[in-house]
Amino acid sequence: MHRFLTRALIAGCLTAAAALSALPASAEVRVFACEPEWASLAQEVGGGDVTVYSATHGGQDPHHIRARPSLIAQIRRADLLFCSGAELEIGWLPVLMQRGARIGIQPGQPGHLMAAEHVDVLERPAVIDRSLGDVHASGNPHVHVDPRNIRVLASELAARLGAIDPDRADAYQTRLADFHARWDNATAEWDARAEALRGTPLIVQHAYWAYLFDWLGLERVASMERVAGIPPSAPFLQEVLAHSRSTDVKAIIRANYEPTDAAEWLSERSGLPIVELPSTVGSYPEVSDLFSFFSEILTRLEAIPDQSASVPGFRQPTG
């Protein structure tokens, strides 16, 4: 009886599975973007020819995501995987790729696009050890915070889409040309605004902003994380505080998804303003695409009051 039931169950499952597999695939190219910035770029270049799914939203830390069931379902049907790479998603993407078992998005396939493999990666560590925290052996993965990288990836994306969907390769190239034109205009405008910011000394909470600093020529005086990914410790924060007093620092930079306590502690004692920056598209309602993402970052940096941390009359640390 039980044996019969089991066999019936298995047979039923297999039939259902076969029936569902035989359904026609959707006409659009399905893009699985690990982060919203890549989803946004895929929307720009793919337009109506793609269906874009973003695994994370603008309030999330992309390092730490649960490999939840909906992601397995999405990756199972994806035609193009578009992620930052450089081990940013190492905690959750490999397990999704294994579970989803989608052949076209495996490494080596045109459907496997890792942004960090197509730009110059910064901060590649010389020594790798767990005691140094969440180090990325392949360097800093937050490559999207530089419009020049976005430009490069737009080209790569259009080429990949064309390889996956050759019938509409021309449409992707046309949209790419249109995007590049708008992007170059915007970048020129941002570059002009960036002149005034060049050399501004800042403290960062996490090494999220390496590419932004590289692009704008900002000066990173200190990072509040002694080791990347491990929350700031009190003694180290004291060091950063001492350092901030002896150096000319304008502000503390933190990403919208990061906890506020450490930055507030430092701000309270140093008198430095905290500047919260959007980590990606969708971090705030007004940051709806890559254009507004960069202009919002510039607007927020421009709002830093032009005061120096080393000027006398500062509030002394209490306790």
């Binding site: 599975a17 939203h57 995501i65 069931p69 190492i90 579970r99």
Partner: protein, 544 residues
Amino acid sequence: MRTIFQALWATGFSFIVACVALQAHAQDAAPTAEELAAEIQAIKQEYEARIQALEGQLEAMSTAPAQPAQPMASPMGRKTATTDNVFNPAIGLVLDARYSTHSADHDFNPAGFQVGHGSERPLEGLALGHPELALSGNVDDKFFGAATIAMDAHPGESVELALEELYVQTLPGAGLPDGARIKAGRALWTFGYLNEIHLHADDFSDRPLPYRAFLHEAFNDDGLELSYVLPTDIYAEVGGGLFRGGDFPFANSESGTSTLSAYGRIGGDFGRNGAWRIGAYMLAGEAHHRSGGAHDHGHGGEEEEHAHEEGEDAHDHDEEMHHDEDEEMHHDHDEEMHHDEDEEMHHDDEHLHAEEEGPFEWANIDAFVDGEFSGDVTMYAVDARLTWAPTGNPREQEMILQGEVFWRVEDGMYSLPGEYDTPSFSDSTSMGFYVQGIYKLNRNFRVGARYARLSPPDIPACVLHEDHCEHDLATPNLDDSVAYAVMADWTNSEFSRIRLQYNREEVHKFVHGPDPDAVLFVEQDDQILVQYIMSLGAHAAHTF
């Protein structure tokens, strides 16, 4: 592409510099100035030619049309060093040690359930927990292989190694259709939520009651499993497996392919920051002379048949065999001594009881506790899990609710080894479930609570007729065993965790004694556990 040129240039240039330096050094012996000058001139010319050739090549490369769809072999600008250990498997070692104290003893034997290795309570005092050594890696482009060796370090004794997992699994690209995977070997198979999870990844220090009673921690038989993720918007996965039938609740399969499984799961999101998954599972097979003892894994069969033969001739021998099995079951020598004494006492009592006080008794209660089961076993399970992170960042704050229900149908008979003429027939269902909630307060602290319950099967009583069980008469009023647990743990990084847990177990046990009214009693056990779990090296990503 820029980086590749830079790397090429850098490599080429340093090679040239090194060659020049070496050559110059070699000529250092005693050459005349003219010879040296001539030599250098020659080298210079030669390398200039080479550089020009290289430049030409580079130019040709840069003007060649880009091939965007070509996959990138490796992150650019990195030299690939091929050394032996590049291809070594990922190695991870889980360090787990604990302090436990309980008010009752080490044995966990709720009435109506065979217990064994994996269901007992943690050792009193300081002891290692469940350390594991895990190796894994891609075999080639089509297969992934993994092995997990669990180390049971009994205090003062040698370490007992158990091959918890050893399997290969197909990689996408092995030629199976999208969404399909096959896993073969020995693994923690898909059955409920926790069964697939390694112990060190549990949210509590011990497995909940139903896992300890029904699966002796986990079902990791030898076999193979096919799973298929459906191409649907909602997550849906189906699968099934074929197993040897050597791991509890199955035993000593004759064909070696006597156990089947099937499952289905669906899951999805709710809101922006919540996720859920529910599943239904079934596991069906046979057991032959299944005792509660440690791992059966095939080799138990011969011993038990041996016992059968001997047992028919001599009752004394039979008793001895019975004790031998106990020895396998209980690794703690002190406990065992205690157990043996008990056993002898109650056997005497029982015989007295049967002979002197009439024909009615709870049939072969011992058989249900210490005996063997032969027959069909079918298990069903339903699980549900729900996670929600207020900001979408499970690292900062998260709530997890999880529950599983198990049913087990045993259609067969229980008998003491050697007493196969007087079996107790069993065709009844036992049930167990647990629900638990975990709340992550911040990056470092979590608290959790768990409630578990175990409903034993009906145990038939019968009329004894010349030492023979005639027919079912009634069933003893067996109540459910329950367990409560609360825990708090501190997590420094994803590689280290320290946990404090309090358990209260109320377990219904049989009493071996002459008074039929006092056949059952409730054992209350209060436990405190302090545990650390750390992992060295590679650390497999956890699934949902």
